[in-house]
Amino acid sequence: MNELIDLTLVCILLGLASLSLFTQSLFRAVMFFILLGLILALVWIRLDAPDIALAEAAIGAGITGILLLDALAHLRATSNTPPQLRQLKQPRFWLALISGAGVILLLALAISEPLAPAVALDLQVSENLTNSGVTHPITAILLNFRSYDTLLEVAVLVLAALVAVTLRQSDEHPVVNEYLPNPLLHACLKLFFPMIFLVSMYLLWAGAAQPGGAFQAGAVLAAAFVLFYLVGLKTQLAQNDIYLKGGWIFGLALFVLVGSMPLLYGQPFLTYPDSQAGIFILLIELGLTLSIGWILFSMFLLSQSSPLQKKDSP
């Protein structure tokens, strides 16, 4: 019975993947891709990974979907390449088919052999969990045992945002309808924003003991910012270069600062004292949530019509 559900999910997954690549209209392709993200969230639930399911639904389907749709509208205005599938050339088709089939064959062969883990890392995780300051193993891994991963990951996010802002001073065609003049959305957002914020903070808080954490919370926050932007409540903060970039750096800076505090006591970088580890992790996660929300929102904002520089140089 369970296998039936799994097989159905896999079939839907592969079907949606094919549709998102080979459907005629690019708009539909993006829609199928967003749907695929939602189905993937279900798959992660079946794989006993609720943390990834939350992240996939919020980041993979939500934020990526927003970015793709936004770019699609923009490409329609600027490029004269038809977004429809063109007449495909024969040699390219056969090359693609052979490569795709080859990848499937090789990977299927590779994973058909059962693998034995060389080092029992999970035992080490469960042994040290009591000293990590949190009770949820994934948060413990991300922010205590492997905190370098998370630190560098946030650095990657900041780097991507910096490159994006450098490229932005372009002659982009202004999108005429910049926001949705919808009074209902406007009123609803005012009602719902406290709730969205509460959900975000709850996800952050719950991350210590249950699925949740900074990334999911940051994505929810970013969605709230995007909604704000769409109804035309333009934040003055986003227009100011210092606040914009300061918001990106904030989480990373706090992480480095908190992480280097043990250095004062002769401990290595990013090793928290066992008794205060919980506070340290919560502090870092709060900074990360705000910064990740702000960076993801900026990524959406950066490609919008009014570059900052135009404000300064009339």
Partner: protein, 102 residues
Amino acid sequence: MSSYLIFAYGGVGLCGIGVFGFILHTHLLRRLIAFNLLGSGTFLILVGLSQSGRGEADYIPQALVLTGIVVAVAATALALVLIRRWAALTQHATLPEDQGPS
């Protein structure tokens, strides 16, 4: 066959479809979608395969995939900015070597 392994094979399928689409298409946005499919397939293999060997949830690959998803969205956002810039400069959403003599 455990349900973990089924999803690992599903990930294999996603990887194959992703590679197929990435080579086949010339439109950059479609290529980006194909690239994301390839990434999702990799994540599924990573978690599914490791858990099928143990028969229970394995938190270490899950944490790695969580990091991977966030990096993937950063890469996607960056690619979209590049594609837009390219389209604004050249009025094309394909690369010059793919545009053909038409």
